[in-house]
Symmetry: C2
Subunit: 323 residues, 2 copies
Amino acid sequence: MKGYEELFSYFETNLKKQAFDNEPNELYAPIQYTLALGGKRIRPVLTLMACELFGGQIEKALPQAIAIELFHNFTLIHDDIMDNAPLRRGKETVFKKWNNNIAILSGDTLFALAYQYVQQADTDILPVTLSVFNKTAIEVCEGQQFDLNFETKNDLSVVQYTEMIKLKTAVLFGASLKIGALIGGANREDAENLYNFGLNIGLGFQLKDDLLDTFGDEKIFGKKTGVDIISNKKTFLYLKALEIADGETRKKLIDFYNNNANQEEKFKEVKAIFTRLKVDQLALEKIDEYCNTGKESLSKINLDTDKKERLLAIAHRMIDREK
Amino acid sequence: MKGYEELFSYFETNLKKQAFDNEPNELYAPIQYTLALGGKRIRPVLTLMACELFGGQIEKALPQAIAIELFHNFTLIHDDIMDNAPLRRGKETVFKKWNNNIAILSGDTLFALAYQYVQQADTDILPVTLSVFNKTAIEVCEGQQFDLNFETKNDLSVVQYTEMIKLKTAVLFGASLKIGALIGGANREDAENLYNFGLNIGLGFQLKDDLLDTFGDEKIFGKKTGVDIISNKKTFLYLKALEIADGETRKKLIDFYNNNANQEEKFKEVKAIFTRLKVDQLALEKIDEYCNTGKESLSKINLDTDKKERLLAIAHRMIDREK
């Protein structure tokens, strides 16, 4: 049974073997560039692991693992245009390095290429694999649109935020596991429970992301903190703070998010409010809650305890991380 | 056996039944808007017709016909951003009516929705249907990128232009027919020959488009002519003219395409050069050539003559049109 590191390097090696070097170069160079930026590759590793846990050979799940990683990278290329983000993993984003049109079109191509890998599933599980993949793709688009809408929406609740991150982020973790499990030979019920496990871990993963962006230790985190606050991103922390703050603090927070204060000052002040209101603790409790709900789903699955431990290890890796 | 009009109205009726009214509205309203703009629906009609010709019920091909029309509309939404086109079928384009981000994301969603219809194919033909669809989607993206590249490329040949329109436009006609034929029960060889028929008719269709844009009768054409010339679009007419013009005329043409002359004057002058060089005649001859190559493919197919006549009728409808 392989752990994260082994599956990660198996995936990396095999992703590198995919050339993506067709013509026109303007279309494929950004695709090669994006895939070479690296990343944790959590989603494809989850697919490979789920397949193996249910008794399948990881080789059989490789095309779907690649499909999921290509899909994820397609969303990053398009999201970076929409968010006007100059950097991704410390390097220029595609639309910055090339231009908007190339970023739109190389993203579209990456999406279509993902389906060329989906297509490689065995005939008997192609319909369900394709169906999970399609449903997830649509949900991720919906999540991104909610995220864009929320930029200008002022009466946002934690519930609405949670629904957004579920669609934008969490469903893809669920789908990664479910598709791997189905390829490995899991029955529909086990695959569904694994999906729910992934969904909850995905929600925890995103809350941890919010938390690190404000409270992370830059030396370990490896990125600048405060980006969410400076860009007025309405995260769990902000929305929870608004929910529980008194009138004066609430007004202060809203003011900070609606006026262009000095960035450093703003980060410091808002972070202090978050700390005072203990929303970091509330976020950790919420993450625990998701973890527990995920574990409940896991407990229903017909798998040996040591295999479930493997999944829990990767879940904790996603959630207990400091970077 | 149903003709174009009957298949068109069958398709329109059934496309209207697809609601696409999910949340968030910012994502689905542009999709509903785009699909309601109408159009000739040639591609889905080809899919339905091909299915029926090989003995299938058109109902069985409906999901794939919808998939192809959704895919086509996805490409229009994204192309309009890239071409900065304000109007489509006389109405505002999605990125103009909403904004760039919504156009990118509703296009992405339409692409994913297309796959939800592909997915409805019977299990036995899903793999090949999906494979044709994926290959075509990637080629259409490649074609669009070549088209973008050609805007700033000066040493372009008719051969390169033909390869571009083959990818950007013609392959989707081939795929529409091939997928319909496979659903109808055609064998692989017949389906392939039908693909080649569609490909050649598609090439003819695009050349006819170029021709009408310059030489169309505005009263019948229903659109302003001269758009290609005014926007320096390197069409078959322009590239053929460059190929056969003498040095002085060649220089004149290149000057017109590189300087901002008065639009009306430029259209008039360039059109006069085209006429003098008889590139309109050469385009018509080329269209005839494609038609004949298409007919050769058709002749190899194991179908009754009256069924082939149906296909030829729709091919002539695409190519002999004046609007």
